[in-house]
């Protein structure tokens, strides 16, 4: 009887072929997104607690302002319908804008160091984390979508509209998460990032079209709203979910451009966290 061939020593095993840049980016991004879903599956507490604030916006602010007709909406749309996409974008923003804290936490516990020692380019790591924030935001948006539908908001439920909405939220969240990671790379401390996050979240929200049309704003706030990616995210959601007129191509181009810029900036600063 011939002896079974000895297994090759593990240490000398052939390296798997290195994937190309695009495939590498895709692999890492999907890995980190999947990981986010796994974490959500293990602990759903955040899904419930984070649903409270958007629920209050819809139930208190939305219902009240619908009754008093204080805010003019395009096509005499009920204010609650107009507000719902804004609240979705807002809840995604609130999740993503503190994502840099997770990065600092990972730095403090050595996880980031270990991730940086894997064959993962920094841009792929940042992109993966940014889109993972998008995954978490989507889970939140689904909750808001269902709640708004229960309150009587009439959405277009076409699959393409829903898919487009997912894409808009993913891009918007990825931009704000990479903005947060950029700030993390600059300030390198959880406390400072928390302070800055709180300082910029509400201005980003109010200086956008999430709550009311930009035409009602003072000129200087309109100028900020025009460069605020949140406005483009809300615009895209209103077109896709409510059928309001707009320029979807421009909204997605703005979101994509902002996301690429955000990921680039955060990647360049990631090394400061690894020191």
């Amino acid at each position: 009887m011939s002896a079974a061939p000895a297994a090759p020593p593990v240490g000398s095993a052939e390296r798997p072929p290195a994937p190309g840049a695009i495939r590498l980016l895709w692999n890492r991004t999907t890995t980190l997104c999947l990981l986010e879903l796994v974490k959500l599956r293990h602990d759903r507490t955040e899904l419930y607690t984070r649903a409270i604030q958007p629920a209050l916006w819809l139930l208190v602010f939305g219902v009240t302002f619908t009754r008093i007709h204080a805010i003019p909406t395009p096509g005499r749309l009920p204010y609650l319908d107009y507000l719902a996409p804004g609240v979705m974008a807002q809840s995604a923003l609130f999740i993503a804008i503190f994502y840099g804290i997770q990065l600092i936490w990972e730095r403090d516990f050595g996880i980031l160091t270990k991730l940086l020692a894997t064959p993962t380019p920094r841009a792929a790591l940042v992109a993966g984390k940014a889109f993972a924030a998008g995954v978490r935001a989507i889970s939140q948006v689904v909750v808001v979508l269902v709640l708004a539908a229960v309150l009587g908001v009439t959405f277009r439920w076409q699959p393409l509209s829903l898919l487009g909405s997912v894409a808009a939220v993913m891009l918007g969240s990825s931009f704000f998460a990479s903005l947060s990671m950029t700030i993390a790379g600059l300030v390198r401390s959880r406390d400072r990032l928390m302070g800055i996050g709180q300082a910029i979240t509400m201005p980003l929200f109010f200086a956008s079209n999430a709550l009311y049309p930009t035409a009602l704003m003072p000129a200087w706030v309109q100028a900020i709203a025009r460069v605020n990616p949140l406005s483009y995210e809300v615009n895209a959601l209103r077109q896709l979910l409510l059928g309001l007129p707009g320029n979807l191509a421009m909204d997605f181009a703005a979101l994509l451009g902002a996301t690429v810029a955000g990921i680039t900036a955060a990647s360049l600063l990631l090394g400061r966290l690894a020191r």
């Binding site: 798997p16 050595g110 064959p119």
Partner: protein
């Protein structure tokens, strides 16, 4: 044909502002060897490890891993290394299996092999029965073994361990080393480690390098270094003899001490 050294450092210099953390350091680690870098806090051990693992670019000099320059062939070097940092670095929100699975994906382990490789790595460190438990429920020793499984899943040729047993109780420490040495024997893996524990280095390392103020003060087999000091000398005596000549206590740095304490605290 002579084999390439697993690690070859030549004239390595690392500078942080006015502090020269590593100063003209040269050493080699042969393939299949267990090599220990010893030294007090602030000696520059972790800085050397960070250069070897491509996390830090040196101010001068080169480090080659299996002939690959860590500066120019970053990704290829990383694919050959399994790394255990000083700090505990597992994600407590994931199970043991998921923690290892993440590294299998990040090292591009092919999908058809992935499940088997993750299970093998967990079995190698004796965690297969608790693989589906959240890692936050693991003891300190189990966490370190899980980190080892993460490092092993890519089947590295070089295992880099930065103070791997810090804060572990003696039983957990023995268990970790038993597994590292077992793996080294089975897999013909090279191990580069740093440690504060001289007894551990004496028992485990084929060769050690004694680092002080970023400079290599002594290098050789533990027994040779002991014999050079005198009869009955231990590696700890060797360490004390060299350290008495010039360890700079300021260089340990608050950050270094804090990081060490944090790791030890989390393991208790």
């Amino acid at each position: 044909m002579t084999r390439q050294p697993a690690v070859a450092a030549r004239g390595l210099v690392c500078q942080f502002g006015p502090v020269r953390a590593v100063d003209d350091l040269s050493f080699e680690v042969a393939e299949g060897e267990v090599f220990g870098l010893l030294g007090p806090n602030g000696a520059g051990k972790t800085t050397v490890i960070r250069v070897v693992t491509t996390l830090l670019k040196p101010a001068a000099g080169t480090v080659r891993v299996f002939g690959l320059d860590t500066r120019r062939s970053t990704m290829r070097v990383r694919r050959r290394i399994g790394y255990l940092p000083q700090q505990l670095s597992i994600d407590g929100q994931l199970t043991g299996y998921e923690n290892v699975w993440l590294f299998a994906r990040l090292f591009d382990v092919p999908r058809r092999e992935r499940r088997g490789r993750v299970e093998d790595a967990l079995a190698q460190v004796g965690l297969e029965k608790v693989a589906r438990r959240l890692a936050s429920t693991y003891s300190g020793g189990m966490v370190r073994r899980l980190e080892l499984a993460q490092a092993l899943v890519s089947r590295p040729r070089l295992l880099v361990l930065d103070e791997p047993t810090i804060g572990l109780d003696p039983l957990a420490r023995d268990s970790l080393w038993e597994r590292v040495l077992g793996l080294r024997a089975e897999e013909d893996m090279t191990v580069l480690l740093t440690t504060h524990y001289m007894e551990e280095a004496e028992q485990l390392c084929d060769r050690v390098g004694l680092l002080l103020n970023g400079r290599l003060r002594a290098i050789g087999r533990p027994r040779e270094l002991e014999a050079a000091l005198g009869p009955g000398a231990t590696l700890e005596d060797v360490f004390r003899a060299y350290a008495a000549g010039g360890a700079d206590e300021d260089k340990g740095g608050l950050r270094d001490v804090r990081s060490t304490r944090r790791t030890a605290g989390r393991l208790r």
